[in-house]
Symmetry: C2
Amino acid sequence: MPTLKDIATEAGVSVMTVSNVVNGNFSKVSPQTTARIQEIIKRLNYVPNFSARSLVKNNSHIISVILRGEKNQNPLKNPYNAILLGTIISKIQQQGYYAMINIMKSATDISKNLHTWNAEGAILLGMFDDEIEKICSVSDIPIVFIDSYSNFRQLSNVGIDDYKGGQLAARHFIEKGHRSLAFIGPPSSHTSVIQQRFEGFCDELETHGIPFDTRFRFSLKSDVDHQEMKVLAKTITEHKNEFTGAFVTSDQTASLLMNLLRQNGILIPDDLSLISFDNLEICEQVTPQLTTIAQDLSQKAELSVDILFRRLLTPNAPVESMVLDVSLIERNSVKTL
Amino acid sequence: MPTLKDIATEAGVSVMTVSNVVNGNFSKVSPQTTARIQEIIKRLNYVPNFSARSLVKNNSHIISVILRGEKNQNPLKNPYNAILLGTIISKIQQQGYYAMINIMKSATDISKNLHTWNAEGAILLGMFDDEIEKICSVSDIPIVFIDSYSNFRQLSNVGIDDYKGGQLAARHFIEKGHRSLAFIGPPSSHTSVIQQRFEGFCDELETHGIPFDTRFRFSLKSDVDHQEMKVLAKTITEHKNEFTGAFVTSDQTASLLMNLLRQNGILIPDDLSLISFDNLEICEQVTPQLTTIAQDLSQKAELSVDILFRRLLTPNAPVESMVLDVSLIERNSVKTL
DNA sequence: CTGAAAGCGCTTACAG
DNA sequence: CTGAAAGCGCTTACAG
């Protein structure tokens, strides 16, 4: 690999003149010299060494994208994460930056990682709320969270109106004549996303004089664990006649569940109506197609990168957060009673 | 951020003693000194700067994972890519290396990227066959391809028996009494994966005295473009009575197509039988569940990382390639005639 | 417009 | 067991 020095020697100039050309400081170099150097750069296939540049400028062009998870897990099995990540990588690259992807969760690992590569910024997906403050405090670079809730004042987050999502689901069920309902999703202890959806759901029911029966709050730790899902399907089957509809916090869970329920002889929507969340492609692929609360994942991903780069490129840019809207998409998984 | 020097000053030793401790060369440092330095490292939260290390050792710990695609595209919308990538990232990280993800396709961009960060190795997904040789020739680090075919002698590739996949599909159709069949997939000009599946399919039909009618080779450029898919669905609808089954080269395409066909009044499997490819989760989520040619994506991803690291860590390790087996999973998308 | 020098944080022989 | 020195490839004031 040729270095600056090689180019300089070849051109008969100093390394710093070459450096100026490489970095586009054309005002400091005569046009002829510039042209000559550019020709040599092209001919010798010179590519600047970013490690060296990063070392002296104390900046890399690296953005660290961190997916919450265990080291031996595959968070991209979940299409929700995959779609977000794909858009994020693509946008980071368009800015001329480099995306380093990590799967981790502990605040120490994260801060270590950020320092190791002198990352200039970070985007964190799916962190638990109680981890946020610790992570923010150990780092001095811009960090944008996706889907996090925290009282930490300096938090930069892109999320959606989860509470409204819950309300919309409840309202739709009520309009369709449902009066006894269930809620299915991860335990809400760690993340307010689920808690907010749950509260919106309950509050809206309450408003219409239908208090939520907490016996029908079903928890599910993983949306990949088939065994756990099976147990849940069994429990639901046993309670078959006690509720007519269920709000499920993700399309992924809903579509998996639907299959298992069918195996137990429960048909959607005849025996049980379902509203899910996200509006991924799967909603239209399953039968019946899923009525769901829609959110715009591409927009979510794009905005988080936009916000990050605003902080990165504008000195003293304020800490921004954004809350995107949600809407209900009606399909065929809710029966009119 | 503290540096080696800071630690050295604090401990009253030279930077190189600290360097030895950081790098675990304990034989060169007395136990007491080691202990003292380790305490300081922990107390000051010292993290080595990899840019500096990379510069002097002329190696980074970076593995570049490259997904073929346009810069403004999201290849992770396709669950096939997402699952592979997730496993790859996770395994790279377990090795103590760092995964940098890029979406690109030109050989120059790729070689530039590899040099910029001094990547130690690379894994390339979905490259076209005619790009392989160019890419290999511009780089001197170990590269492992996934799903590529090329006559390039030094190619390291992890793939599956695509030809057999085609054969299995044909045989299954024949066993179920089908005699006139279609083939649906991307144009095979760029990638032998599709070509092989097609040939296996045709050859097996031929063997049973059923020549494939090339009018029923339908091409589809993208498995994300709904418009193109719609046009295809219409074409198929028009040819409704001319074939009884179709071999579709991915679950993704098959499940999307199934929906559109249903909208045109074509029911699977009654009006048309389908065999797809990959055996992703979606196969069990759609109705009817898809009969498909199964491949093991986690294994594919794991093996490619294994092969890469064998080349990376063992001097003079030979260039390895692997071909994984496929099998037919019978579900409900093929009707017995 | 051009260059000599110092330095970013680290490692690698080499000397003691 | 410990350290002084050189150097990885680059940029940044500074001087001319």
